[in-house]
């Protein structure tokens, strides 16, 4: 598995573990929206996720606007973690 695929798998595991989701990692698409019609996360999950990403990936998300961009999907989180996200 390539490094980026491994990272996305790890992000899914963190999502499931930290947010106590019932899904399996392979049930979450890389581009599935995390909020709204996708995974259905809410603002409480968002806060938990911000804390979890800092804890697990040392990714600090300092403001709400950046959070909106980064927390869209597993893909966007992975981009931010690998420092490729333009808004980071």
């Amino acid at each position: 598995m390539s490094e980026i695929l491994e990272l996305k798998q790890r992000i899914k595991e963190v999502l499931i573990e930290e947010l106590m989701l019932q899904e399996q990692p392979d049930e979450i698409g890389n581009d599935t929206p995390l909020f709204g019609d996708g995974l259905g996360l809410d603002s409480v999950d968002a806060l938990q996720l911000v804390v979890a990403l800092e804890k697990n990936f040392d990714l600090k998300i300092s403001d709400a606007e950046k959070a909106k961009l980064i927390l869209r999907s597993v893909d966007t989180i992975a981009e931010a973690v690998t420092d490729k996200f333009p808004g980071k």
């Binding site: 930290e18 106590m20 409480v44 999950d45 806060l47 804390v51 979890a52 800092e54």
Partner: protein, 244 residues
Amino acid sequence: MQSMRNILITGANGGIGRSVAREFLSNDFSDHIWLGIHSHRSAAEEIREEFPGRVDLIELDVTDPLSWDNSLNTIIKKGGSIDVLVNNAGGHEDSLLATMSDDAWNRVIDMNLNGTFYGCRIVSKPMLAQRSGRIINIASLSALSAPLGQANYAAAKSGVLSLTRVLSRELARAGVTVNAICPGYIETEALSQMDERTRKAALGNVPMRRFGRPEEVSTAVRFLACSQASYITGSVIKIDGGIY
């Protein structure tokens, strides 16, 4: 036996704060207690001497967010985690609302409500990250009744109850619990300052016909902080001898 916990108690120089500290120290031998003190410290120093190596005094002005930042940084740096926060600091300045000064209103809201808010806010993130934690807010029976001359104090403590309920929902998924305790008349310095007539009138309102002891409050605090209380959150416990 539970693992070592870092417990911060604000207002630790007062009657209930001291009792809460002793309750943890006498029963949970691996706990490390951080006593938040501001204007008075003699009683907190006595506790530190009584339990050598297990107590730190920490300068904390609960009305100042920066002071909270400094305190939490110290605790995390030295202790590694913050596991229990007991928001106990508070005070009242009573007068009828029609004659209440802006300062008296603002000071009481600041001390009781804003102080609790700052404390809850600063421990939320580390507790979310560690997926565990206990917050216990000491409110007052005044939050549930309508005591004459305490519009500021009652409003502040009612605010503490609302804050407790909302935060309990926000942190629930991480296993962090947030609860409040409403003590009634408890034998502390504040009560001893009451004149005899007021004391008798207060006692007349208590179905148990006695005032509470500080340890009857601190036992409940320790219970809410223990692992067995993990499913209790957003609750308000009245400890008042049955007043309704």
